[in-house]
Symmetry: C2
Subunit: 410 residues, 2 copies
């Protein structure tokens, strides 16, 4: 399908721990910012796609999440479709919004991603994502990870009863160890990802963490799951991000200034492939490049799903930014740092900007849109004309459950 | 938007209490039946929309619900969009699937609605839908209902600590009392709805309840919320329903036998209107009739959202099947019973076929498709060429949060 949706405006909240602000208010703030940025009125929105992953488990607001937010802004009557794809909920909302514009079904569509994870009841915040996997299947996976870590002397599975961490970090740790064994990737290279993204985050007023860390500081931080230290793991957080998508005709009618074009957006689910076969990461990015008519080397700026530092290195590879196994070298050579040839996660990424799950996919679009409109201030990638966003969610068998890759053009 | 999607096949499970079968298996069964009915293969599905409301709270499978079901069938790689709109989750999945076909984005789309509410932990089953409202706003509503019921001698709010019922039945009870006061509707007329639907359900092998009840039996049943007795309230249940939507070109290519046309499908959200102004019910049905180019009297068979018996009477009115206030008379005159001029809920409706929340909207499509294809056996409405499905979900302010109306044509 040849995409034709345009991004007319974007907006997001600060990401972080916001016990003082609720689910509705945080979503509403992002919508208002995006509507202002687009120069439209709230009542111009024709349909809304709202991505959220965990409001049900954390806040009790399981159903009609989008309607509740929009009503607080006085918006009703329009179709509101609440979508969910774990950590890829936001990109799924964006993908659907773009599809509706491309299909000619709507002229002005809101894509909103929102998450409220911090709760006075800390247990709820940390257990919310036990449902982002096939809950039956995951029992078996966790047992096998524990055995393999025990055999290799690693710490996965050795978590004390009081330790709070996502089981996803156990999976990432296992993947990291396999990458080190196979390709010679080093723990220092993982730390370089975190240090780079912390530098980018230090330049981003909306980032959850603003401190720029050295590689040494990353390595010296507390161990979460061997070999991952704390700054190699994305935090939980609260936040929301929104984008207004419009048709080309509507953009002209509204006189939108410098709209950003969605040249491709591809959503795929994982499947049971052999470990060495291409998975959802490779397939989604290949389709996205084809749809856009560009290749990996044409991309000027990337926001990708660094839920962990090794996750960023793996993404370099399946996005084709480097050959398989070359991800560690890519970050070490400074290619993906601001000022390098192909900056990645100029926002600070999930690791430092933060990862309010349902908001993440739309927040990537916010960062890229601003980059392509040359309004990223000290984080600006000079001359950026093509940006790529990659957002993955959940686990199914050995693959990610949902993977969305979108390419935007100035 | 002129719709052009065709329904190539439908399938559903038995609705009821199925402690022996899990969330994945129940969803998979409906998908397999629909795929067989359409005469396609599982791998022909290009994209899946999966409606579910409460798996997170009941089963812990909060995220990636559709992927988990489809993986159990060996289906991966395709985009899977998990959608949620409380009791209208199923119709939202159907609405999105039809939109994608109409838009030319896809040729073969799966719409699946699935719910697993019965759990060994009964508390989870009954508390799951406390999130289907604006959770903050609902505090105020419940307090006001309790005051008004106390003033009128009703029982709302007098539930003992051990009583298990949905707060939605308190809302329906208040609405029922208002309808009685204003229009002279009688409790016997509410009971006639339940008796009629129990007769229809007695003819439906997939219905949760098969016993045909008399009006007297309905009235003599235990009181849930004055004036609603138990058979005037829909039960909770487990079940799934699926539909395969295809483009006209694909239907010809596949040689689909008697596909049913989606001539309109409209989704709206509620809003803060004055009590006497039209709400989501009136607006969605009016749009659906306009889109289809037909009027209420042209419809031969209706599946509507009888979450409670007064809910069916209200729906008669906002769907235009009778004038405002005439709903009680309509059922009393036998118009909406099998053999009457305009049979409603030939499946048994939510009251008797059952109401596995996320599945309900798609199950309505299953019933209508079979009616329009003249394969409903003893429930067949002779000569049915036009069917209407109406599915509502959640509450927002004084209106329903999501309302979907679809019109199908033989």
């Amino acid at each position: 399908m040849r995409q034709n949706a345009l991004i007319a405006g974007v907006g997001m909240t600060h990401f972080g721990k916001h016990l003082e602000i609720g689910f509705k208010a945080i979503g509403a703030e992002a919508v208002q910012r995006a509507v202002e940025d687009a120069g439209i009125r709230l009542q111009d929105i024709e349909v809304a796609y709202v991505g959220n992953a965990a409001a049900g488990l954390v806040t009790g607001q399981e159903c009609i999440r989008g309607q509740v937010i929009l009503r607080s802004l006085g918006v009703g009557k329009i179709p509101v479709v609440n979508v969910e794809n774990a950590c890829a909920s936001g990109s799924t909302a964006f993908h659907q919004a773009a599809a509706m514009v491309t299909a000619g079904a709507n002229d002005i569509v809101l894509a909103l991603g929102v998450e409220k994870l911090y709760s006075e009841d800390r247990k709820k915040s940390f257990s919310a994502f036990s449902g982002a996997v096939d809950v039956e299947f995951m029992q078996a996976i966790m047992e096998s990870l524990q055995k393999s870590a025990a055999a290799s002397g690693g710490s996965a599975g050795a978590a004390g009863a009081g330790e709070k961490r996502s089981m996803f970090m156990d999976i990432y740790a296992a993947v990291a160890r396999a990458h080190m064994q196979r390709y010679g990737t080093t723990v220092e290279q993982f730390a370089m990802v975190s240090a780079k993204n912390s530098f980018h985050g230090s330049l981003n007023p909306r980032a959850q963490f603003r401190e720029a860390l050295t590689v040494e500081q990353v390595l010296a931080a507390p161990m979460i799951a061997e070999p991952l230290t704390r700054p190699m793991c994305s935090p939980i957080g609260d936040g929301a991000a929104a984008a207004i998508l419009v048709s080309p005709a509507k953009a002209r009618q509204l006189g939108i200034n410098k709209p950003v074009r969605v040249v491709s957006t591809v959503l795929v689910s994982g499947w049971d492939h052999a470990p060495d076969e291409d998975g959802a990461g490779e397939v989604s990015s290949r389709q996205a490049y084809e749809e856009a008519g560009v290749g990996p080397s044409d991309i000027h700026v990337v926001e990708l799903h660094d839920a962990s530092a090794p996750g960023e290195i793996l993404a370099y590879e399946y996005l084709g930014l480097c050959p398989k196994g070359g991800g560690g070298r890519l970050v070490q050579d400074g290619v993906t740092k601001l000022g390098g040839r192909q900056p990645v996660n100029t926002s600070g990424g999930l690791l430092r900007k933060g990862h309010p799950v349902g908001a993440t996919g739309v927040a990537q679009i916010v960062e890229l849109t601003e980059q392509l409109q040359e309004r990223s201030g000290s984080r600006q990638v000079q001359g950026a004309k093509l940006g790529l966003a990659q957002n993955g969610g959940g686990n199914i068998g050995i693959d990610v459950a949902a993977m969305c890759v979108s390419i935007l053009q100035a």
